[in-house]
């Protein structure tokens, strides 16, 4: 409760959280207030007008509908990728950091191996091996390639905690490794893990946009994400012919979403770390 109070005192958190909540509300409740129609309704790249506020895309589809759908998909991909990446990273980091020795060396080498190979390259390579890619698959591919930094961060935190007296005491109480990790280390780094999760969600959203931008995003007729909208704009002349409405709104939505998550993350750091507290 006190934590929440502190968070609410931070303007960064309030702005970030409101922005994020607005995007979530639009993604979830938008379809209730706005008749979503992703079929062809007019001529390609029709300019914004009273009926279609943001105009039409290259297939003559309504951009507002596409953006609301795309926002939902991007959030979906971001959250699933975030959950996967954070879980893998936390498990590997916790175990390696706490155990130390050979287990840590092996896990560190594995992690560093994935760190030095650019994630985007792996993302491209894995994506190309799948002919058909659902949103969930894209989310999983991103999640399984993005865990490295969280693993490193969590490892450092766990390693710092392992020499604390309460860990020694827990061992003298006969607690096994699993119990020590779950009961005596995880609670201490939960706030850190949560911050990592938020960053992973935002990087998941960006990765989806990037991979879709080069045409390796979700496939299928109803696969609409913010990245796919940008890819279409890129492929079908949206970037020329003054068709600003083809890419500016989608770019703004992605930026707002990621910006909101970064604000939340940064403000949390200030609250969780007493030294940064004002």
């Amino acid at each position: 409760m006190k934590l929440l109070k502190n968070l609410l005192k931070s303007p960064m958190f309030v702005i970030g959280m409101s922005l994020f909540l607005v995007t979530i509300l639009i993604a979830i409740f938008g379809p209730l207030f706005y008749a979503i129609n992703t079929d062809r309704v007019g001529v390609p790249y029709d300019m914004p007008n009273a009926q279609f506020w943001l105009g039409l895309d290259n297939y003559g589809r309504d951009y507002v509908s596409l953006l609301i759908r795309g926002l939902g998909s991007s959030l979906y991909v971001g959250v699933i990728a975030g959950v996967i990446a954070t879980t893998i990273g936390t498990l590997i980091g916790l175990y390696g950091g706490f155990k130390g020795g050979l287990a840590d060396d092996i896990l560190s080498v594995l992690t560093n191996l994935f760190v030095v190979i650019p994630q985007f390259v792996i993302l491209i390579l894995i994506s190309t091996t799948f002919e058909k890619r659902s949103l969930a698959l894209v989310a999983m591919i991103i999640g399984f390639t993005a865990w490295t930094w969280s693993a490193r961060g969590v490892r450092a935190q766990a390693a710092a905690l392992k020499s604390k007296d309460h860990i020694s005491l827990a061992r003298l109480n006969g607690d096994n490794t699993l119990k020590v990790l779950v009961v005596h280390i995880l609670p201490y780094i939960l706030s850190y893990v949560f911050m990592v999760f938020i960053l992973q969600v935002s990087s998941g959203i960006l990765s989806e946009a990037a991979i879709s931008m080069i045409g390796l995003g979700p496939t299928g007729d109803n696969a609409i994400s913010l990245g796919v909208i940008l890819n279409d704009a890129n492929r079908y002349g949206g970037l020329s012919d003054k068709n600003w409405h083809a890419f500016i709104p989608a770019t703004c939505v992605i930026s707002a979403l990621v910006f909101a998550l970064y604000l939340i993350n940064t403000s949390m750091e200030g609250v969780f770390n007493p030294r940064l507290r004002k």
């Binding site: 007296d165 020694s168 005491l169 827990a170 006969g174």
Partner: protein
Amino acid sequence: MQNSEVKIFDAMNAGRTFGHGKKLVTAVDDVTFDIKDGEIVSLVGGSGCGKSVLAKMMLGLYRPTSGTFLHKGQPITDLKEHWREVQSVFQDPFSCFNQFFTIRSQLKAAFGIYKIKPSDKEMEDRVDQALLAVNVKPSEVAGKYPFELSGGQMQRMLLARIFVLRPKVLIADEPTSMVDACVRANILDYLMKLKEELNMTIVFITHDIGLAYYVSDRLFIMHKGKIVEQGTPDDVTVHPKCEHTVQLLEDIPEIHKEWIKK
């Protein structure tokens, strides 16, 4: 009461290193000593001399990397069994308990070392008795979280844990270094109470040779991982053989020294 036949700990050229290659650090270097049943032995040395590592070796938390380290004539293998007999209180009372659980639940967690746990009622009773033994009202502190208690109270909670488990051997790793003088006297009283009640063997780890002089049957002086001198408090303080012991003695405040001379 001393039974000189049983050696609680018996170390022969025991050592412990960390890391490897260029980063090799020798924390405990070729130590040979024994500790007999019912003795109070103080391990004295400056920071980083390896006394805490040696303490953790006695607890079985670190295995020796060289030499032999025996508990009652046997290498330490079954840790849970070892911890039923050998327990510890640590230096920093604030970091000793998990901040997310109540004192009662953490004192009860100590029963984890038993093969068969007592009934819940019995565990509660033993926790209550242990708290009373360190002059704390169970109803006042047991339901609290560690961060709600003062340093002195926390150190008592650590001792209450020992009263719960009633081990044969206690490794006390600087239990008085982070508390004020008044609490320090209290803690020493409780340690003596434990010693009398259970005929406990106590290994008292400290950098304060003055304090060690009062409480112990024998003193071990450690320097850079080695035990450089061992003997009765009088031998060590009156006729120090080693320069490091002299150094430690010189570091005692003057007023302390006058007491020792008496």
